[in-house]
Symmetry: C2
Subunit: 339 residues, 2 copies
DNA sequence: CTGAAAGCGCTAACAT
DNA sequence: ATGTTAGCGCTTTCAG
């Protein structure tokens, strides 16, 4: 066994409790003593045992993340990992560790129950994709500190945090108007694709507010695929009155949109501007590169961390919040010559 | 405090050590007793305290992952997270947990030292991008169970695991030859891009072995970008003898390659076949979709987990291994009409 | 400001 | 097959 608190105490000529207090920055220790003890720790290369500390204080300084880590998750949903990275960063800065636990929706309840009962973590961050009704109930029933990453799609009293997609939509609106676009179209996912729906809502509100309401003929909904992006765009371009800009709900749709426009021999941005949401994964790999409303998901992770730590401190709090960290990254796809 | 081992013992009319033995599947416990105790645990909803267990056994059943989780990491390097997911899956299956710790190369040594000294984990998985000389020395000096994810680019006695890119290159070679391609070209990164270099080496060896050596004029090296992929391809197509297939070292290069071919009015696969490595992120989003040598990085994570657990059991082992989990995903980009 | 001592909940050696 | 008991290394009253 390595060097323990006793060794330090002996070498420093103090009691273990004094050493412990130095370790924890207890106010009652005199400068001198503290310094001496610290010097000894350094000399002996002492590090307190993590398990002993957790055990003694009854808290682990650890947060568990529950998320679906099935095969391909990192490729299909890198956003999740960016959120986790942000979370880890914040936690680490405050002396907490993050432990990552893969679950599917069916197993999330059990995993959470076990973590709570075994006290293997002081808090829980749960990706919304594995949040179920029973799990939601467990969280509110036990009052265990938690934060759900993403807005639940059912009524729930859990604490959650999510991006503000409505806001992102208004950002798109303001930007396009400021660039002189007026006949703006939207292609996106169906109503049950909340992200897309909210972006559309924000876009509508933003345009409306600036006196340039979105024409219903210019709204097309389909699947979030390249193929549907292509098809929706293609039909859109059959209109007599062509839009002068197309807002795509996401990268996949945008990819199809760009292809459809170009296959008609039309130019981006000369004939029509294209804007999409999220800088990932394709926006810089089309020709021309795409202007995007970028969503800062790492920031979401950071904030989730801060909230969770606060909830650990004061478990009675409730947090249901939405984060407005989106901003325009302007690229060539919306660069009208005539502005 | 929740229910403890004492409560269970009392309720079951046994001693705590019996309960502990049941908990740990000790052989000496009779069927009956074990069953009775288990029933009581169930009734009382007993879960052993994780910290108490860790503390008492002197081991945490936890593995720490050290990796660079800087902003954008999940987007730039999703492979890392897929490896971590695979690792977590394997560990979880064997009763271990994974704790994720962001570090940069400068901080990795300290982080590792702290984890080792505080015993906050029983093993360490370290991404090669943060492996430094001193860290490597620390690992071999302490003999702490570890596995480096990726092959070190310097001489080192650490345990590591990596994909076998040379093998992947031979897979590409066999496939292309089997499809009737004979004038095969390679465009990739410079010599210091080990992944690319190994793939090229494997391709060469594979072609050579089948009596169809790679012509040096057909090898072009540059940066791993779309732009360089385009440029390399463009120059390649200036040759009098055109290649009938182009192997791209990675997706970014492939993207440029496809564009360059098509801008010349040539067709894929009619005029030239295109193959790349790694199914991510673009291979299914070009027109035509690309045939790839897919690298199973999750499998790498799984294996890393198995090795690490074995090293935890027997710390004197040394593992330096490369994994050969690559296979062809055939898509349209290599579908010659004449086969 | 410092120290003595009682746990924290479990494991494991040892005794029976 | 089961029970007794001594720790594991630290935190945290409480007394001084």
């Amino acid at each position: 066994m390595g060097v323990t608190i006793k060794d330090v105490a002996k070498a420093a000529g103090t009691s273990v409790s004094t050493v412990s207090k130095v370790l924890n920055g207890h106010y009652s220790i005199s400068q001198q003593t503290a310094e001496r003890v610290r010097r000894v720790m350094e000399e002996l290369n002492y590090y307190p045992s993590a398990s002993a500390q957790s055990f003694a204080r009854g808290s682990t300084r650890t947060v568990a993340v529950l998320a679906d880590l099935e095969r391909g998750a990192a490729f299909r949903n890198p956003h999740l990992f960016e959120i986790v990275s942000g979370l880890e960063q914040t936690l680490r800065g405050r002396g907490y560790r993050l432990f990552l636990r893969g679950v599917d929706a069916a197993g999330a309840y059990q995993a959470a129950e076990e973590i709570i009962s075994r006290k293997s973590a002081d808090g829980l961050a749960i990706h919304v994709s594995v949040l179920t009704h029973p799990l939601s109930a467990l969280l509110t029933r036990t009052g265990f500190p938690h934060i759900v990453l993403g807005m639940p799609n059912f009524d729930s009293q859990v604490c959650w945090i999510d991006n503000n997609n409505v806001y992102s939509g208004t950002v798109a609106a303001s930007f396009l108007l400021s660039q002189g676009y007026r006949r703006i179209a939207f292609i996106g996912g169906q109503y049950y694709d909340l992200g897309s729906a909210h972006r559309l809502q924000g876009l509508k509100e933003g345009l409306q507010a600036r006196g340039c309401p979105l024409d219903d003929r210019y709204i097309r909904l389909g699947q979030s695929t390249r193929a549907d992006g292509w098809a929706m765009t293609d039909r859109l371009l059959d209109e007599k009155d062509l839009p002068d800009a197309i807002v795509c709900a996401n990268n996949y749709i945008a990819l199809g949109c760009v292809a459809a426009v170009q296959e008609r021999g039309m130019g981006i941005p000369e004939d029509v501007g294209v804007l999409t949401f999220d800088d990932y994964p394709f926006s810089r790999f089309t020709e021309p590169e795409l202007t995007v409303v970028d969503i800062d998901v790492r920031d979401l992770g950071n904030r989730a961390g801060r909230h969770l730590l606060e909830l650990i401190r004061r478990p009675t709090l409730q947090v249901q919040t939405t984060v407005t960290a989106s901003n325009i990254i302007e690229r060539r796809s919306t660069r009208k010559k005539t502005v």
